[in-house]
């Protein structure tokens, strides 16, 4: 069953990088949806079904923290697992995002294998 993935980051090249990481997994990816900030992402999520969200924190218009808060307060959207991909490695931020409901966290800069492993862990699949 093909999975739809949403990538939320204000950097287009980072979104491309993350898309490429998915080719390292054995996952059958249906569609990628991309957004440059939380507001745009929420709009898209109300129109299309998504199986996994990866989001940055520092973004214009609506940052990742507010975005995750809004996801978790919506009965439908809260079921979608979220992985945070951010430069912020502080314990306080990581704890905050997990407490808000994020299921995974990867700090930039990251090796492609590290993101691949986090995706597989959050989705509960194995590789190799």
């Amino acid at each position: 069953m093909a999975l739809n993935i949403m990538i939320v980051d204000d950097s287009p090249v980072m979104r491309s990088f993350i898309r490429k990481v998915f080719r390292l997994t054995g996952l059958d990816v249906g569609e990628f949806f991309e957004a440059g900030h939380g507001e745009e992402a929420l709009r898209l999520l109300r129109e299309r079904w998504v199986d996994l969200v990866l989001t940055d924190i520092n973004m214009p218009n609506m940052d990742g923290e507010e975005f995750v808060r809004q996801l978790e307060s919506d009965d439908m959207l809260r079921t979608i697992p979220v992985i945070v991909v951010s430069t912020d490695s502080s314990n306080s931020r990581v704890e905050k995002m997990l407490a808000l409901g994020a299921k995974g966290y990867v700090t930039k800069p990251f090796l492609p294998g590290a993101l691949r492993d986090e995706v597989e862990k959050v989705l509960g699949v194995a590789h190799d």
Partner: protein, 148 residues
Amino acid sequence: MIEQDFDRLLSGAVDSVLETMFYSAALGPAEPEIGTGVLEARLAFRGRPSGTLSVCLSESTARQLAAGFLGEEEDALTDSQPGEMVCELANMLCGSLVSTLATEGRFDLTSPELVPAGTPAASPDQPLARQSFELESGILTVTLRLAA
């Protein structure tokens, strides 16, 4: 906070970011490049302390690093990708740096923007740390300014 500490923190952040995602090593110090064909990205960080960070690379160096980052051939890159990569490099360097500065509380980073090279800083914050690094593909210059 002594300037030397910033130099060490800057080069630590550069090593970590370049090696992890850009497959590139800083080979040693260099003289900054001036003139046309240089891409510059700037962003601000707000917290304790606050300031700005800027990153400069020649277009040719930016293309080479962008190709490595994306795992593509240089001629497969779009026109905007080298500039976008310089912005994301600035974002990651800034994030790495603010994580290592002795801090209380949280930092917020603005979205990096490309500026015409040589544009003076919007506010001439002090103090200044600037380092240029020699890479295999060219020269990287990083400038850190802290708000007074």
